[in-house]
């Protein structure tokens, strides 16, 4: 047997998978209890949902074909999001607007499809350069948070540590942060201190997560808080076209997204 024959034998017989004719860009949310789903959990949920919904998915070749879904990097487990993205490759051109509710119904409540649009193609990560995050800090007064935010922004470098699978990693949390705005948590009781921080953070390598920013900002880090901060990614995309813009422009027109996301509603299961 020649090497070529041998190589062919290792491939599944039968026709090659049908080619993709359409790429769709999906914006979805991770809400409430589903914020505890890991990125892999969400991926499996989508793989099953596209099957359950009967989408004409393109598949990879080989002995274990998988539907062609590309995920942008996800929020950490435990963090909510209103702006997660993935792309789907289909073998039959399909109306994206009609597909949204079908896909949404096949997913667990809390993994919610916000919008599906036809996509010109190209890598997602090149179009997702910055994120806007909302963080609620129970037990922290807005004044204290404002002072801490100012000190953070005034520093040229804020070294932080994170425990990863490969051990403790040290890196700078300051350079990636573009804005930090502090306000009182909406709807907080007057006798309960609660500061809300809106931050725009550039996607860098290593990724600077909101928790890293908080660890560089709060004395004692997030571990010193009475309860875990509620974190939500509210937007993801590129900065606005004007020079010095700090506005995050989504790669999908946000027609379905409610005008204002009320943070205290985001984390209710």
């Amino acid at each position: 047997m020649t090497a070529q024959q041998s190589a062919q034998k290792n491939r599944p017989t039968g026709p090659a998978p049908a080619p993709a004719v359409q790429q769709l860009l999906v914006r979805y949310a991770k809400r409430g209890r589903m914020r505890f789903a890991s990125h892999r959990d969400v991926g499996r949920a989508f793989e099953r949902a596209v099957r359950q919904a009967g989408l004409p998915m393109a598949h990879s070749a080989g002995f274990s074909p998988h539907p062609k879904i590309s995920y942008a990097s996800g929020t950490p487990t435990g963090v909510s999001s209103e702006a997660e993205y993935l792309t789907l490759l289909l073998t039959v051109a399909t109306d994206p607007a009609g597909l949204r509710p079908v896909l949404d119904r096949a997913l667990p409540d809390g993994i919610d499809v916000i919008e599906v649009v036809e996509d010109s193609g190209g890598s997602l990560n090149g179009r997702l350069m910055v994120s806007e995050w909302l963080v609620q800090l129970p037990g922290v007064t807005p004044d204290a948070a404002t002072a801490a935010a100012r000190a953070f922004l005034d520093a040229s470098e804020v070294p932080v540590e994170r425990l990863t699978n490969k051990g403790i990693r040290r890196f700078d949390a300051r350079a990636a942060v573009l804005t930090l705005d502090v306000s009182p948590c909406p709807g907080a009781q007057p006798d309960h201190a609660c500061a809300m921080i809106r931050m725009v953070v550039r996607h860098t390598e290593p990724a600077v997560r909101p928790e890293d920013v908080l660890n560089g900002l709060l004395p004692g880090g997030t571990a010193a808080l009475s309860s875990a901060p509620a974190v939500t990614r509210v937007a993801q995309g590129v900065l606005g076209p004007e020079a010095g813009s700090r506005e995050v422009v989504a790669p999908v027109p946000a027609t379905v997204l409610p005008a204002v996301v009320t943070p205290d509603k985001v984390n209710v299961p």
Partner: protein
């Protein structure tokens, strides 16, 4: 009165535990009913981690059957990991269900499914976290006064391990032997009637009704006495109207019980991610070590049309990309080739994989191999010769010849599988070193034949070994369990033999566990009520998740057994490595799986003498195991001659605009 969800108190703790997703519920096809709109409420516990418990067929089936009933509610609960247990205790949060996050203590019944005895300590954790007294005797209501203290759920066990529930008898209110589908509905009916009648006789009255009318075994209604040497003298009812023997439940027409229809689809990663349908229940092959095969008789097949319908519905309801055709020996279905072919036709081009988790070596064939491989996916193939030598396979009545095995495995290699797993047991009755070393020779022959037929050198076979544990209601129930030191020594020799020939070294994988956990499994499998003290001592000492090697402590079990059994004429060895006589009263003697004890004993003697092959009664004459006449049941097999409709695509196709 509405029962409040503990979720608001639980949620702040979730960022602090590993795998928080296992505690949040909200899965596709899960159900949360209005508490006050129901009058009989079941919590279903699988006493292991969520990732193991969620795919369990038994729990999924009962969950669906109960929730389909008006006025009945069923929610699931699983064992929490130690990090969560600590937090629950620290914050005073009880054991909760993942559906409604309701406290388990608020339900009428806590149904517990035991696939394995190694979940016993986890039962105690769940009871304790739920605020339910560990001992059934402390749950009140014995004197029949409905007003004596708070209500605690009835703790009712089922599952294969419950065929000898004696080691946990003191922790249980009731036990259901056998199939649960009809039993849970009967119990539900009696609980409803009892409530409507004003709870006559309290807890005790309800249990008497369940014992008398629903074939529920209530351990508290039986007294066990012992002989001076430690053996059991007798187990007898301690009250009137209590049957001396309790029989198992058998569902006869599985085509009428098509569950699960809409199984729960987990968000978390679990051990099986597929839609599984039982293509038949029961097995009459007569493998002497196999408790499942003995206690689930007779064979009852689902018809090809039912299987097709269940698969179509199940895949549509879940989106799973793999379909498992489950049973104790799936290739033995009378129409397995037709099922596999028609399903492969129906799913052509949909990237849906078919798998046969239990496939007998001698029933696997080229048709099945082709159909299983057709849709691209080749999931793992496992064959279980169980015994390494022909002599060993005669003792256990698993009559597979070496030629059968090699032909089957080479068929798989030739059909494109590169990896095949072979499963064996070590520590079988009469086993010698030579029987175990024969496994190495067999593996070499398999690889050699595979290389010849494929012309390739990258084929592999993994030898996987489990320790044999004698089980109740089998011909080996009288056998001495092999000491773990002997098992470990044989496995070391086998490992050396497998590595000895470098031409095969890398083509053969070797997986095994050390022998110690099997000893504890042996203690719990064939133990009596005195073993309950050992389980409780182990649990109080911190024993949890005994099925997980990183949590299991053999030393703890040995120390606690020594201490708890100090005043008794029995010890760990007495329960495990001691051979029993024919006249010994066995702890499960009053529990009837339908098997005639004389037949079991005769079969055990034939195993020891190496004669008397028992053929499957599906295809040959009845060999009088006793099940059908004593249970009023019969074998139900095809062929039906029907086929799945051609040309139907069983997956929905989205309409395209």
């Amino acid at each position: 009165m509405p029962i409040e969800s503990v979720y608001p108190r639980l949620e702040p703790l979730l960022p602090r535990v590993r795998k928080p997703i296992a505690y949040v519920g909200g899965e596709v096809n899960s159900v949360v009913k209005d508490w006050d709109a129901t009058d009989v409420r079941w919590a279903l516990l699988y006493p292991d981690a969520y990732e193991v418990g969620l795919p369990n067929q038994g729990v999924q089936i009962l969950y669906e059957i109960l929730n389909e009933q008006d006025g009945v509610l069923a929610e699931r609960t699983y064992s929490v990991w130690p990090d969560m247990e600590d937090l629950l205790r620290e914050h005073g949060i009880p054991q909760f269900t993942v559906d409604g996050h309701r406290p388990v203590g608020a339900f009428d019944v806590l149904g517990v499914s035991f696939s394995t005895e190694l979940g016993y300590t986890n039962l105690l954790t769940a009871l304790d976290l739920a605020g339910i007294p560990l001992h059934s005797a402390d749950r009140g209501g014995r004197d029949g006064d409905p007003a004596d203290g708070p209500w605690y759920p009835l703790v009712i066990a089922g599952g294969h391990a419950a065929f000898n529930p004696e080691p946990i008898a003191g922790f249980l209110d009731g036990v259901v032997l056998g199939d649960g589908e009809q039993a849970v509905l009967k119990i539900t009916e009696q609980i409803r009637a009892w409530k409507q009648a004003g709870r006559p006789g309290g807890r005790d009255g309800l249990l008497r009704t369940l014992a008398a009318r629903c074939d529920v075994y209530v351990p508290g209604f039986y007294d066990v006495t012992y002989l001076p040497d430690g053996r059991i003298a007798r187990t007898v009812p301690n009250g009137r109207g209590i049957p001396p023997v309790v029989a198992k439940h058998t569902v006869m027409d599985l085509d009428e019980w098509q569950y699960p229809r809409k199984p729960i689809v987990p968000v978390a990663e679990t051990v099986h991610e597929r839609y599984s349908v039982e293509i038949f229940r029961g097995c009459t092959r007569g493998c002497r070590f196999c408790q499942a095969g003995m206690i689930t008789r007779p064979v009852r097949e689902r018809s090809i049309t039912t299987v097709g319908q269940m698969v179509a519905d199940g895949v549509r309801a879940t989106g799973f990309g793999e379909v498992g055709l489950l049973s104790l020996s799936s290739a033995d279905h009378s129409e397995i080739n037709e099922i596999a072919k028609d399903l492969a036709d129906a799913y052509e081009g949909t990237n849906t994989g078919l798998s046969l988790p239990s496939t007998r070596v001698d029933a696997f064939n080229i048709t099945l191999a082709d159909e299983l491989a057709r849709n691209g996916r080749r999931s793992g193939l496992t064959f279980a010769p169980e015994g390494g030598s022909e002599r060993m396979r005669q003792v256990i009545n698993k009559m597979v010849t070496e030629e059968d095995l090699i032909r089957t495995v080479t068929t798989a290699y030739a059909s494109g599988w590169r990896q095949v797993k072979l499963y064996f047991m070590c520590g079988l009755p009469t086993e010698t070193d030579e029987d175990v070393l024969a496994i190495a020779e067999l593996a070499r022959k398999v690889i050699q034949a595979g290389r010849e037929v494929t012309g390739r050198r990258d084929i592999r076979c993994t030898v996987s070994i489990g320790g044999f544990v004698p089980k109740p209601h089998t011909p080996f129930q009288w056998a001495a369990q092999c000491p773990h030191e002997v098992v470990d020594a044989r496995l070391r020799k086998l490992g050396a033999a497998l590595r000895a020939n470098p031409a095969y070294g890398r083509a053969i994988g070797f997986r095994y566990h050390d022998g110690q956990p099997s000893v504890v499994e042996g203690l719990l499998s064939r133990g009596d009520r005195r073993v309950g003290q050992v389980i409780e001592a182990v649990w109080r000492d911190g024993g949890r998740f005994d099925g997980w090697s990183e949590h299991f402590s053999f030393d703890r079990w040995v120390a606690c057994a020594d201490q708890a059994l100090a005043g008794e004429p029995v010890d760990l060895d007495w329960y495990t490595t001691r051979e029993r006589d024919e006249d010994e009263v066995l702890p499960w003697g009053h529990l009837d799986a339908g098997l005639d004890p004389d037949w079991l004993w005769q079969d055990w003697q034939e195993a020891l003498s190496g004669r008397g092959e028992v053929e499957d009664c599906r295809w040959s004459a009845c060999y009088d195991c006793g099940v059908c006449p004593s249970m009023g049941t019969e074998i139900q097999t095809g062929p039906t001659g029907e086929r799945l409709p051609a040309g139907t695509k069983l997956l929905p196709v989205l309409s395209v605009s």
